[in-house]
Amino acid sequence: MTEQQAPADVPVAPPWKRDFPYEVLSEEEVTRREFARYLVLGAGTIAVANVGIAAWTQLRSINAGEPRAITPLADVAVGVPHLFRYPGDDDPAILVRLSDSEVVAFSQKCTHLGCVVYYEPDEERWHCPCHEGNFDTRTGNVISGPPTRPLGRIDLEVRDDGMIWALGRHT
C-alpha cells in the first residue's frame, strides 16, 4: 500500500506538527498590511456610501405641495402661531398672522439640522432651540446662528370665504 502524495503547491506540515497540532499565538496575528487593507476596504465602502448619498440627494423629489385649505383666517389671532402639516403629513409647518391682513407660513424644519423652529413674538423671529438659529419672521432669511439657508416658505392666499390656502412650498 502506498501513501497518497500531497500536491506540490500545498505546504506539508512537519511531522511534529501533525503529532502535536497546537496553534501558535502569532498565527492569529493580523499583519500591518492586512490591517491597512481592511482600512482601505472601509474607506472604499464609505466612498461608495458618499456617492450614493449624493445621488440620492440629487434624484429625490421634494414635494412642493398641492393647494390646500389650512384654516379660517378668523380662527388665527394676531401673533399666535398656528401649526399644521404641509405639503405632506410628515412635514410640520407653522403659520402666524402678523397683522389683520398679513399672514406668513414656513416649514417648521430648521435648515441647519432639521430641528423644529418656534415663533418668538417679542424678538419677531423664528427660533431654533437646538443650535440657536434665528430666522426673519417675514422672509425666513437667516438672522443668526449656524443655518445658511432660509426657511422653506409656504405661499399663502386668503380667499373670499376667509379661508387660508397653502399654494405650495419653496425649498
Binding site: R32, L39, A43, I46, A54, Q58, H112
Partner: protein
C-alpha cells in the same frame, strides 16, 4: 540607519497616513448626511468626489507597505 529600520519606519508612516485618510472619510460621511438634510446637492457631490479621491489615495499607499 539600517535598511530594515528604514523600511519599518516607512511602512509605519504609510499606515499612519492610511489611518488619517480613513478618519477623514468618516468625517466626510457626516458632511454628506448634512448635505442630504439641507438638500445641498453641490456639497453632496463635492463630498463624494473628495471621498473617492481619498479612497484612491489610501489604495495607492498600500503599494508602499511591506508584506
Amino acid at each position: 540607519m539600517r535598511a530594515s529600520d528604514r523600511a519599518r519606519r516607512t511602512s509605519s508612516a504609510v499606515l499612519l497616513y492610511v489611518i488619517i485618510l480613513v478618519a477623514f472619510q468618516v468625517f466626510l460621511v457626516t458632511v454628506a448626511v448634512e448635505a442630504f438634510q439641507t438638500d445641498a446637492e453641490s456639497l453632496a457631490w463635492a463630498t463624494a468626489a473628495v471621498s473617492v479621491v481619498l479612497f484612491a489615495a489610501a489604495a495607492a499607499f498600500l503599494r508602499y507597505l511591506r508584506p
